[in-house]
Amino acid sequence: MSTHTATNMKAPQAPIGAAPTPFKVVARVAATIWSNGKARIGIIILGAFILIAIFAPLIAPYGAAENGFPRSTDASPEHWLGTTAAGEDVLSQLLWGSQISIFVGLVAGLLSTVIAVLVGLSWGYVRGFGADVINFIVNLFLVIPGLPLMIVIAAYLSGGGIGMIIVVVVITGWAWGARVLRSQTQSLRSRDFVTAAVFSGERPFRIVFREILPNMTSLIVGNFFGAATAAILAEAGLEYLGLGDTTIVSWGTMLFWAQNSNALLTGQWALLFAPGLCIALLATSLTLINFGVDGISNPRLREGAKK
């Protein structure tokens, strides 16, 4: 007995800290992303866009659809970026348009991530016939070229506005994420703690979503930012092709109308350049944030970031 207590005492008693609360976990994750220089730039750009979108009604000098101005004018003190062929203020459209791009990006990114998580995790966990069926469906979505599929679906659902765009982007965007999450699930499912959960009498649903899912948070967050980037680009692309509701004001429809009115021929480069740059900047900011997300799950990248 005496030796037994002795061995007990030999065990290094690490100072007992309270279990981290969810708030602390979020704060730590945020701090990790922030500590990466690239991610910091991304967060600042994204934050600026979100602020612009929220406060567009206050910042924008005119309404988005106000078209009583002289048509196709160049930049002037009244209209910093000029006016469109329909007589709208380009700067105001740019500011208002950020709302649509960010909304579509976040919502479509979120939805396709949710589908990717649901499909990817159950696909990775089940074996046998069920997995083959899912495999077939996912492969179907992967082999069909994305843009033509998008165009076909969008043309079919024509005139649906933002909601339709989101549906199209989600349908064409979830498959890659599902595939990546499935691979990670397959590698996690053979871990001892998953087997141990089976021995604890856990049902498969709980094993997948309480034991496995929390261990791939960074992958899911990364997938979300990737999907949001793709959604923003797809939304702009579809609207540029005139497949969305062309009466709303977004960066995509701005490009569409600028192209329609031959803005380049008339020398109004701002009409194409300004929304294009905004789309690129927003997509870049999300990609930059993803560099920081990598550091959450891979401390080695974090170490490198500090040096």
Binding site: M1, T3, A19, P20, A196, N215
Partner: protein, 563 residues
């Protein structure tokens, strides 16, 4: 003899400032030419950190904060990368624990040698092949391995290749960092013998870093014992074994014994036969007897009956023959009995564990637990089996979900199997923690796995296995990942559970000493077949099968060689 290496007042830290961990503290020693020195310590003692510092391989966040490493005319602690590279030829080489995984899978072994020759240019191009052949034969490998790829070689062969690669630069000093820990027992023994012979033939100076005092005492002439970053004892192997001066060394030594001896005693354990004769339990008990409420449910105790079970896996590659993992095995595990299943890796012992927990289905034969047919059990009825048969995993670091608190981990089986909820479930969880000796229970319940030591984690794993109030526990190498000083505590816990809870135990291991201490009966498995079985003490004292003898011989026994 002349001094080869002199370490003066060396300190290595992880991290900086107030958060820094002092892994190596003011260590000084010197090595003579041709010495074979062992460096022993438990995990976290700083032995590997010291090894990496000596070879100039310290990686951030580890960094040398003070002291000198005088090797020849240079101080390794202050050398730049380019000079270090220069110095590797005829300097210091290192063999890592995972050295066998350090080989590039898409390059043949021959190319690995050529890469080194090319980088250092110390062998003329026309002698490359002959030199490579010479090197592999030094580590007792046939020259044909040069044309193989790493994936085609076994773990032991790959580790030999990495030793040969380390030798290719004609080092004056070789640092072996746990060179055999990741290998199977029998292979371990063979590789260790090669290292010892090689050192005697080639006359290089060697440092053997290991957690296993047995291996070190058996092979090294001089032993340094490291504890919490300091060298607490430095003396000849003979002196360390016979007259250890430090308490820590004595504690380590007390955990070694020969399983073949008539009377085997470990700290906390009296010999089984002596104990049974006197009719007394192991000790005053590391656990509490079960509460009445939790045991009243059990009236019938069931036996696990395995009859003529075989398991054949499909061939790994097309054209190869199927793999027979378990071949016609029969045994019965009576309630309250402890049975050891021993064998080297690949002997089928873990497959048997999978079969009796219904994780895998046998190819033929029957497995019955009471009146339940385990062999044909459907997935939906797993819960029924697992309420009686539970498992303790080998690796306590992998068996706990890093993101769940101890309380969550333990609450789940309690809720699933006993139907308790809310405060009742919590009370039961705290009871379980108390049972496995983790107190204060409230504090441990709130911890996450990374805040616990290896031994504490393994206790949590055992507590989880107990949550369903099982009749049978399968322990798959429960102590092999733990430090020697923690092993006895976990073994004592298992023993107490069996004695006081009446749980039967299937103890799977390659460690015959622990099998001797905690089990009544033993089954020795070789390539899926039972080669020997019977009373544990009898079998180990008078082994009949040649395979059992080999297993026994592979155990490092400090007393045997030094004496």
């Amino acid at each position: 003899m002349t001094t080869l290496l002199e370490v003066l007042d060396l300190s290595v830290d992880y991290g900086y400032g107030a958060d820094a961990t002092h892994a190596v503290r003011n260590v000084s020693f010197s090595l003579e030419h041709g010495e074979f020195v062992g460096l022993v310590g438990e995990s976290g003692s700083g032995k590997s950190t010291l090894g990496f510092a000596l070879t100039g391989l310290s990686k951030p966040p580890a960094h040398i904060v003070g002291g000198r490493i005088q090797f020849g005319s240079s101080d390794i602690a202050s050398l730049g990368d380019a000079d270090l590279r220069e110095q590797r030829h005829g300097g210091i080489a290192m063999v890592l624990q995972s050295g066998m995984n350090a080989l590039n899978p898409v390059r043949s072994i021959r190319n690995h040698f050529f890469d080194i020759f090319k980088a250092h240019g110390h062998v003329s191009r026309e002698r490359w092949s002959s030199r490579a052949e010479e090197l592999v034969s030094k580590v007792e490998l046939p020259t044909q391995v040069l044309d193989r790829f790493p994936g085609e070689l076994s773990g032991g062969m790959r580790q030999r290749v990495s030793i040969a690669l380390a030798l290719s630069l004609e080092p004056k000093l070789m640092v072996f960092d746990e060179p055999t820990t990741a290998l199977d027992v029998l292979v371990q023994h063979a590789v260790m013998n090669t290292i010892i012979e090689l050192q005697q033939k080639e006359q290089f100076t060697a440092i053997l870093i290991s957690h296993d005092l047995g291996i070190v005492l058996e092979s090294a002439q001089r032993v340094m014992v490291m504890h919490e970053g300091e060298i607490v004892e430095d003396g000849s192997a003979h002196d360390i074994l016979n007259s250890p001066k430090d308490d820590y060394t004595r504690m380590l030594l007390s955990h070694y014994a020969d399983p073949r001896a008539d009377v085997v005693e470990l700290p906390g354990f009296e010999d089984r036969s002596v104990r049974t004769a006197a009719g007394k339990p192991r000790a005053a008990g590391a656990t509490h007897p079960p509460t009445v409420s939790s045991r009243s449910r059990r009236t019938d105790q069931k036996a696990m009956v395995v009859t003529n079970v075989s398991k054949v896996y499909p061939p790994p590659r097309r054209g190869e023959s199927p793999v027979t993992a378990v071949d016609d095995v029969s045994f019965t595990l009576e309630p309250g009995e402890a049975l050891a299943l021993v064998g080297a890796s690949g002997s089928g012992k873990s497959t048997i564990a999978k079969l009796i927990t219904a994780v895998e289905k046998p190819t033929s034969g029957s497995i019955r637990f009471g009146d339940m047919d385990v062999a044909g059990l459907r997935r939906s009825r797993f819960r029924q089996l697992h309420s009686d048969v539970q498992m303790v995993f080998q690796d306590p670091y992998a068996a706990l979900n890093p993101l769940h608190t101890v309380e969550y981990t333990l609450t789940r089986p309690v809720v699933n199997f006993t139907g308790l909820h809310g405060q009742d479930a919590r009370r039961r969880v705290l009871d379980l923690l108390d049972t496995v000796g983790l107190s204060p229970v409230e504090e441990f319940a709130a911890k996450l796995p990374h805040q616990l030591s290896g031994g504490q984690r393994q206790r949590v794993v055992i507590a989880r296995a107990l949550a369903s109030n099982p009749q049978m526990i399968i322990a798959d190498e429960p102590v092999s990942m733990l430090d020697v000083s923690l092993r006895a505590g976990v073994l004592a816990l298992l023993e107490d559970l069996r004695e006081q809870w009446g749980v039967s135990l299937l103890y799977i291991t390659h460690d015959l000493l622990s099998a001797r201490v905690v089990t009544d009966n033993i089954m020795v498995l070789n390539q899926g077949r039972v080669v020997e079985s019977g009373n544990t003490a009898d079998v180990l004292r008078n082994p009949q099968d040649e395979y059992t003898v080999r297993l026994l011989d592979a155990i490092p026994n400090p007393g045997r060689d030094v004496a």
